[in-house]
């Protein structure tokens, strides 16, 4: 047992360097401003004040959360049936093939795939060219909410499908047989057995989709246009263009706290039904 414990150290060192130190640096930046040359840093809450005083930033944060929530819900609605169908395929070989197809797009860089959507959705892009050759009016697709959410769902749905798929395949099939023996309908056994048992998969899927969706900055930038500002774009701007690392860090910290709050909510939602189901 003792020998196993020492194997944790590399991980601890690793996560200290790559996770904890950067987090502390962000917190450090967030609570300071650039001072004069004598005193390099000065403690302040101004960075947070300027975020909350200005309704612009609050609105941007709200819109980011809204887009991320919609994206997550769509990923569940579309991803669950996909995962369910794959998990219930008769032959193991087909399952492997289907999972491969789901992960296949993620082998290509996300930026490149998003650029492809730009070409498809453009005013004179693929879809509109087809519509116009058929004689239908062109649609306004690019630079809309629709385009941004489409881009996000497209990019993040594999994470949702794979999580749900994994939890579905791990499920003990004898529960379903027992339910059938006891005369439950297909719908009943799905609602009372399959769904609760796959909930952990949904929860970790939510985490994997919601987190990148809420902080994504290049999808809104490309598919929404520069006027489509989400919180990730504000942070990017503060770091890369304005050069105000302190304010950028403060926003990152506010984001992190918001996300932790949302994660806590989902965890809570997770605990209740499973406690009730006694699984």
């Amino acid at each position: 047992m003792k020998s196993f414990k020492s194997m944790v150290y590399p991980y601890i060192i690793w996560s200290t360097i790559l996770i904890i130190i950067p987090m502390l640096m962000i917190a450090g930046y967030a609570f300071t401003v650039k001072g004069n040359s004598v005193l390099t840093f000065r403690f302040t809450l101004d960075n947070f004040k300027s975020f909350f005083v200005d309704s612009v930033f609050i609105n941007v944060l709200k819109r980011s959360l809204y887009i991320a929530v919609i994206t997550t819900i769509l990923c569940i609605l579309l991803g669950y049936p996909a995962a369910y169908i794959i998990a219930n395929l008769a032959r193991e070989k087909n399952k492997v093939m289907m999972v491969l197809f789901i992960t296949f797009p993620t082998w290509i860089n996300m930026l490149v795939r998003t650029y492809a959507w730009l070409g498809i959705l453009q005013d004179n892009g693929l879809i509109n060219t087809i519509l116009q050759t058929v004689g239908l009016p062109a649609l306004k697709l690019i630079h809309t909410d629709f385009a941004v959410i489409l881009g996000m769902v497209y990019n993040f749905i594999p994470f949702m499908i794979l999580q749900i798929y994994t939890s579905l395949t791990k499920m003990d099939k004898s529960y379903l047989e027992a339910a059938q023996d006891l005369g439950a309908s297909k719908l009943q056994s799905f609602l009372r057995i399959t769904l609760p048992l796959s909930l952990p998969g949904i929860i970790s899927g939510i985490t994997l989709v919601f987190l990148p969706a809420v902080s994504s900055f290049f999808i809104p930038k490309l598919l929404g246009g520069g006027q489509y500002v989400l919180i990730g774009n504000v942070i990017e701007n503060e770091f890369l263009i304005a050069g105000n690392w302190n304010f950028g860090s403060a926003i990152s910290l506010i984001m992190a706290i918001t996300i932790i709050f949302f994660m806590w909510l989902t965890k809570k939602a997770d605990r209740d039904p499973s406690g009730e189901g006694g699984v």
Binding site: Q122, N124, G225, Q227, V229, N233, V234, L240, I241, A242
Partner: protein
């Protein structure tokens, strides 16, 4: 038997270590033949680098960025390069931070090829630190069929707020260019430090944002305007020259209220590892062939006078292209200055403009 294997393995290890050392010392020697160039994306001719490598028996490590600020952030992070190609205001900033090396002009004889328009610019009047690569201005590309030429010339920047063209304009997603447009439209200096003037420009942009439904883009503007997606766009002259060469319906106007004249120039960072070859590279870029290849491929105005005049002469690639040679000597045109306080202020205002909803 085991012993034998151990000996063989040991020998193999030692020999590979020796070979490894040999390898490093070799690459140490050849290091003087490596030059690291950090340039804008899509601003170099197809054969320029390979020709340089052949002629000088050198190896070019070529990396690109898409904004001055991104380049600056990478430098801050500690990356080392031998040649950079920042814009005027960024050169000023790097110069003030003592991050640049004064050039040895005796190693760059081709500097005599430079056009007069790129000499004596305020950020580096004697070209002590920088050698111009491309120069240009900012103007409006418009579709001749939908927007009358007289109207653009009469209204200048104000045409961007002409509601006849609502939903039909592209602007740059950059606080520098947007505020330049607004300040110029209002008749102020684009380098103003007057808070009232900045606020007025902010209101101007807010109004534009809320009445015109503009789309803010960066380099996508090139393909989109070639495709004729919108009627008007604020575009850098070099990109405009390319757009005009690809789509005959498009025209270019440098507004009467004045605009920004910019110059991207090659500099050598103070911590460059191979300054000699960097000088060679700069000198090579100024040569006729390399300059020609660059400007022919990219569309930005060459700093090499002969190349610029030849390529815009009758029958050549940019003949009659009104965007190829930017206007010079117009009193309302200005070069951008770096001011960190204003920069941060504008950048925050710009975010507010973009995220405001009508």
């Amino acid at each position: 038997m085991k012993k034998l294997i151990a000996v063989i393995l040991g020998a193999a290890m030692i020999s590979s270590m020796v070979a490894g050392c040999g390898g490093t010392s070799e690459s140490g020697d050849s290091k003087s033949n490596v030059v690291k160039v950090f340039n804008w994306g899509e601003v170099i001719g197809e054969d320029v680098i390979s020709n340089f490598e052949d002629q000088y028996d050198a190896k070019v490590i070529y990396e690109v960025y898409d904004s001055n600020e991104m380049m600056y952030t990478k430098l801050q992070a500690g990356d080392k390069y031998d040649v950079l190609v920042p814009s005027d205001y960024m050169i000023e900033r790097l110069k003030n931070e003592n991050a640049l090396m004064p050039l040895d002009k005796s190693l760059i004889p081709n500097m005599e090829n430079l056009a007069d328009e790129v000499k004596g610019l305020p950020y580096d009047p004697d070209l002590t630190y920088s050698v111009p690569y491309f120069y240009g201005s900012v103007g409006i590309v418009y579709n001749k069929n939908n927007v009358p030429k007289e109207l653009v010339e009469e209204q200048g920047w104000d045409i961007l707020k002409n509601t006849d063209y609502k939903g039909k304009i592209f602007m740059y997603d950059s606080e520098r260019d947007s505020f330049m447009v607004a300040l110029k439209a209002l008749g102020y200096s684009m380098n103003t430090e007057n808070e009232d003037e900045i606020q007025a420009a902010y209101q101007w942009l807010l109004e534009l944002n809320n009445t015109m439904d503009p789309i803010y883009v960066m380099d996508e503007v090139i393909d989109s305007m070639i495709g004729g997606v919108k009627d008007m766009a604020v575009v850098y002259s070099g990109d405009a020259a390319y757009i005009l060469s690809q789509n005959e319906d498009m025209a270019f106007c440098e507004p009467k209220q004045g605009t920004n004249i910019f110059c991207d120039s090659m500099v050598i960072p103070a911590n460059a590892e191979n300054p000699e070859l960097a000088h060679e590279f700069i000198n090579y870029i100024l040569s006729y062939d390399a300059s020609y290849d660059n400007t022919y491929t990219v569309g930005y105005t060459s700093s090499n006078k002969q190349v610029r005049d030849d390529i815009s002469a009758e029958g050549e690639e940019y003949y009659g292209n009104e965007a190829y040679i930017p206007r010079s000597g117009y009193e309302n045109d200005e070069v951008f200055h770096d001011n960190p306080v204003i920069r941060e202020n504008l950048s925050n205002l710009w975010i507010k403009v973009k995220s405001s909803e009508e």
